[in-house]
C-alpha cells in the first residue's frame, strides 16, 4: 500500500495495521525517516517537502511493485508526507512483511534506497532565517545502485 499525504502519521498504528489479524507473517522490517534539527551542520527550523502530484504516487507504486517482484513479501507499505514539518516529525515510513527475516530486511532497505533516488520529492530547509533547497547526495545514488542486480533473499 502506498500513501502520499500532508498530515502526520502514527508509525506504530501503521505497522500494527500491516500485520493485524494475520498469522502468516513472521517478519516485519520498517524504516522511518524523521526531520532532524541539524542537517549538514546547519540548524533546521522546519522542512517543506514539495512533490509532483500524480507522478509521485506512480513512482512509489512502481517501487513497491519492484520489491514484490524481487522478494516473497506478504505486505508492503510506503507512506510519504509533503508540506511543512518540524524537527522530530516523521517524513517517510516504509515497511516490508514476509515469512522470514532476510526478505523483510532486504526489501525494506531496497524500498527506502530506491525511494530516495526515484520518487519525485524535493526538500526545502528553513533555518537561520533563510530557506534553501537541499542538494541531492551522491551517496544516495550509490545506495540505490546496490540494488540494480537482483539481491539475496
Amino acid at each position: 500500500m502506498i500513501r502520499v499525504q500532508e498530515k502526520p502519521f502514527d508509525v506504530g498504528a501503521e505497522l500494527a495495521a500491516l500485520s493485524e489479524g494475520r498469522t502468516d507473517i513472521g517478519a516485519v522490517a520498517s524504516f522511518t525517516g524523521l526531520v532532524r534539527d541539524i542537517a549538514d551542520e546547519r540548524s533546521v527550523g522546519a522542512l517543506t517537502l514539495e512533490h509532483y502530484p500524480g507522478m509521485t504516487e506512480k513512482k512509489l507504486a512502481e517501487i513497491e511493485e519492484e520489491a514484490k517482484r524481487r522478494w516473497p513479501l506478504k505486505a508492503t507499505l510506503i507512506i510519504h508526507r509533503y508540506g511543512r514539518m518540524e524537527p522530530g516529525e516523521p517524513i517517510v515510513l516504509v515497511a516490508a512483511a514476509s515469512k522470514h527475516r532476510a526478505a523483510a530486511l532486504d526489501a525494506c532497505a531496497f524500498l527506502i534506497d530506491w525511494l530516495k533516488t526515484k520518487a519525485p520529492f524535493w526538500k526545502l530547509e528553513e533555518g537561520d532565517g533563510e530557506a534553501s533547497w537541499v542538494d541531492a547526495r551522491s551517496s544516495d545514488d550509490e545506495a540505490a545502485a546496490r540494488w540494480v542486480p537482483p539481491a539475496r533473499g
Binding site: G33, L49, E50, H51, Y52, G54, M55, K58, H80, I91, V92, I112, L115, K116, T117, K118, A119, P120, F121, W122, K123, L124, W133, V134, D135, A136, R137, D140
Partner: protein, 83 residues
C-alpha cells in the same frame, strides 16, 4: 503541451506550470528545453550547467532525446531529495 517546474527551478522560472505550443520542429525533451529557455532566463541559467535538470514525460523519467508531442505533460526539475 503542459509544462511543469518543481523545486528551485519553479522559483527560477517564476511559475509551476504553463501551457505551451512549441513549433513542429521541437520533437524531443532536449529541444523543448532549449526552445523554452529562449525567453525564460531562469531556465536558461539552470540548463547552462549540464546534468542539473531532470525531466519527465507523462509522469515517467525521460532522457533529453525522449520524444514530446502535443498533449504531453512534460516536467523539469532538479534531482530528487525525498525520503
Amino acid at each position: 503541451m503542459n509544462v511543469k517546474y518543481f523545486a528551485w527551478l519553479r522559483a527560477k522560472v517564476g511559475k509551476g506550470a504553463e501551457e505551451v505550443s512549441p513549433p513542429e520542429d521541437v520533437r524531443t525533451v532536449g529541444e523543448l528545453m532549449t526552445w523554452l529557455a529562449h525567453d525564460r532566463p531562469g531556465l536558461a541559467e539552470a540548463i547552462a550547467r549540464p546534468g542539473v535538470i531532470r525531466a519527465a514525460v507523462n509522469q515517467d523519467y525521460a532522457d533529453p532525446d525522449h520524444p514530446v508531442k502535443p498533449g504531453d505533460e512534460v516536467a523539469f526539475f532538479p534531482p530528487v531529495t525525498g525520503g
